[in-house]
Symmetry: C2
Subunit: 471 residues, 2 copies
């Protein structure tokens, strides 16, 4: 299975033993080596086989982080930062062993500035916790990758999700980071000003670096005002092309849709079965609009016109919260509905992203591939960004089934690359997409490696992610 | 004059002589060593003393760029990329001599994709040329730093300007770059997909790197639909605080202003004198709204209410293009009006950026400093971003006057830093702000240097910018 580099790296047994001794003494009960702790911290939502860390440390402060880094740096032992383990490409695996650094207890809101529309948090807070804490301010943090991920994990993997089409991805919403580097220094990547041109953009360098360049200990995020009104709607189309044309026209006209999601016919069928719904089994767009009563109505009317021009069915929409939830039910439960198509099987969620002009072509070719191979694989897309997910159902215990799904994801990545797209729009490289990074980035990977080498010469920061451990 | 590091670096005379020989042979008439060419290419809009390159090469293709890099890399000779020379912090100076690489002939539009709202250009095209070429597509490139800068220069300095409040800065609008590295390799930092999580964000690393990490040879930019309607308006306020409160409320309410500019009373006085206008000599906000007839009217009405709540005078606005130009006249001519306050003097345009909640305080303290020192220095701010410029008028031939303005800009930078702001919101570090980078970024500067060292070990890429040449 050449395309999946999950080879164990070299283990520094002596160093690991030394670090375990040090951390046990320093962290007492917050240091755990039990099998269940270790298993839970190697758990990822992909089918990649788990690779357990040697221990888990529950950090509660930057001082704790520095203490772990000091021990691991002295003995050249890997550190794997851990949020909630919702990453999809093996980012929390420990191919060379080492220490899983659990941030669940480092989850405070440090500072909210309503006038500046920003908040500073510790990395372990989840996005839902954050939004609960912000509720009284009238502000919210918009990025929604689906899972209730931690802000630290979302930052480290450059997460995005359904409303990136309006609010951007993590790269657009992180103002500044505090980071502990491999040599134990604490640095801050930027001030709290909304923009700066002072030197290299270290903030964006750490966003998406998957824990391989430094350990994030605080994050300043941009916030948005909670919309006065939220509208939602659904529209079925005769073909993926027709749906994608409607998306392109919507974006071109500058309608500021908050979400515009594509579900293919297989996914709709899955949703109908899962939630006893009766959506027409056709490619369908789910939309959400944020604004005032007036602007939400205006945007919906504009979209309805576009949908009609593109041959869509009637556009059903509502500004009533309860009805909106009902309309959006299928989208919200898409993942579980997909899994329920074959409840005994494993599910591999993979993603690619292409220029929006190529989205229909890429989805249609992928559907043909799925059919040709006899796979069961519903498709859900963040259509406004040209980004889509395929949930491939397969039997993880059957090598032939695994080989088939790997060959499929390989073709999918190459298809996206051939269309000037990326092998991963929002899941990251981790271990699962390592083989395609070089194909996608060519000589630019050498620059990435040069940065990695200069920031982390002893390879203690999440080794074996983005680049193979051995290199 | 300690704060301004414009010390000449070491000159590699032998290497320079060798490179001049090679390039003369390769480039013929496109290679120039005449004094006037060299002077024009060391011209910057600041008062920093010019430091001339040894020669100017007019590149016309990536192959030309590679040829120059090969020669300069072999002989360890500096390359200074040159757009139109509108940078403000000495970015095109040649403290160690070397080759100015002029991009004015490498200014083609390579590819427009209206469906994807993107365009790929060569670095030498200016933003006005680009928008002229785009006109028939119904699209435009919004970033407007004032000067008719090149897209390459704007990318290299992470430019922003008046409408960054709505459209972001260059970091938000560059999708991908093609770059020639110090060892002559051509790399591409990203595909044309709207988002990606494939490895480190090299795009954002090169944006704002001021030519010190690689030479940009192509840029893919996000475009916007030309607004159906543009509205503009003006409103005077009793104080800077009142104006800034109106700005904060506007942003908090999510009114998508395209521009919201603050001119202080001195700047208004200058504009009145320069263009025979009769604006009240009070802190004044200039606004622009992009949208449809309806949304522009709605936004203007919303702002008028906010302005009234904040004690502003009547908000005069119009959706008529001609009247808008008239209303905005003062803002458009602000720089020249400021210079005309004392036509015999030199002008130093400097900028800082603070969290918007601190903007009023920072401007008011700066005004007090100006008054205390007896300086003449109008203030113009991109208020929605917390970013403002001070145009200090001084006598460049009088050392006492120079010392005074340097001490002033030093205090200004420190004032912004004390408010969790940056010493430069959009002009870059160049040579002029080098002394403050360490104060602003602390240990993070070591990471920046590590990147510089690993990308450019022989210091041939615009040495002496961002970091001192000797280091």
């Amino acid at each position: 299975m050449a395309v999946r580099d999950v080879r164990p790296g070299l283990r520094n047994e002596e160093g690991i033993a030394a670090v375990l001794g040090i951390l046990k003494q320093t962290f007492g009960e917050r240091f755990q080596t039990g099998q269940s702790f270790r298993e839970q911290h190697a758990h990822t939502t992909t089918y990649l086989p788990p690779q357990l860390p040697d221990a888990v440390v529950f950090v509660e402060s930057t001082e704790d982080v520095k203490a772990v880094v000091a021990a691991c740096a002295a003995h050249h032992v890997p550190i794997i930062p851990f949020g909630v383990g919702s990453s999809l490409e093996g980012q929390v695996n420990a191919p060379s062993g080492g220490i899983s650094m659990d941030f669940s207890r480092m989850n405070r809101v440090l500072h909210v500035s309503p006038a500046d529309l920003d908040v500073t948090v510790e990395p372990g807070i989840t996005r839902e916790e954050l939004n609960r804490e912000l509720r009284d301010t009238g502000l919210f943090f918009p990025i929604d990758p689906g899972a209730n991920a931690t802000i630290g994990g979302m930052t480290a993997t450059r997460a995005s999700g359904t409303n990136a089409v309006r609010y951007g991805t993590m790269k657009d919403n992180v103002l500044s980071l505090t980071v502990v580097t491999a040599d134990g220094e604490e640095i801050r990547t930027a001030r709290r000003a909304k923009k700066s041109s002072a030197g290299y953009d270290l903030t964006r360098l750490f966003v998406g670096s998957e824990g391989t360049l430094g350990i994030i200990t605080a994050i300043t995020l941009r916030l948005q005002g909670i919309p006065e009104k939220i509208g939602g709607g659904v529209c079925a189309f005769p073909s993926v092309e027709a749906a994608c044309n409607a998306v392109i026209m919507t974006i071109q006209m500058g309608i500021p849709v908050a979400r515009i999601e594509l579900l293919d016919d297989v996914q709709i069928r899955a949703c109908n079965a899962y939630s006893s719904l009766d959506y027409p089994e056709k490619p369908t767009l789910f939309l959400e609009f944020h604004g005032t009563e007036e602007t939400v109505a205006l945007q919906s009317a504009q979209f309805a016109e576009i949908a009609a021009d593109c041959g869509g069915d009637e556009f059903r929409w509502t500004a009533n919260a309860e009805e909106r939830t009902k309309l959006w039910n299928a989208r919200h439960n898409a993942y579980w509905a997909g899994r329920a198509l074959a409840s005994g099987l494993d599910g591999l969620s993979t993603d690619v992203c292409v220029p929006i002009s190529r989205l229909a072509e890429c989805v249609v070719e992928t559907q043909a591939d799925i059919e040709r191979e006899g796979l069961l694989a519903p498709i859900v897309g963040h259509a406004g960004d040209g980004n889509f997910h395929v949930l491939v159902l397969f039997d993880g215990k059957d090598p032939a089934s695994v080989a088939k799904v790997e060959a499929f994801t390989e073709r999918l990545s190459r298809r996206a690359l051939a269309m000037d797209g990326t092998c991963t729009g929002e899941h990251g490289i981790g271990q699962g997409k390592m083989a395609f990074l070089k194909e996608e980035m060519g000589g630019a990977v050498d620059l990435m490696r040069a940065i990695k080498r200069s920031f982390d010469p002893h390879q203690i920061l999440n080794p074996g992610k983005i680049f193979a451990a051995a290199e």
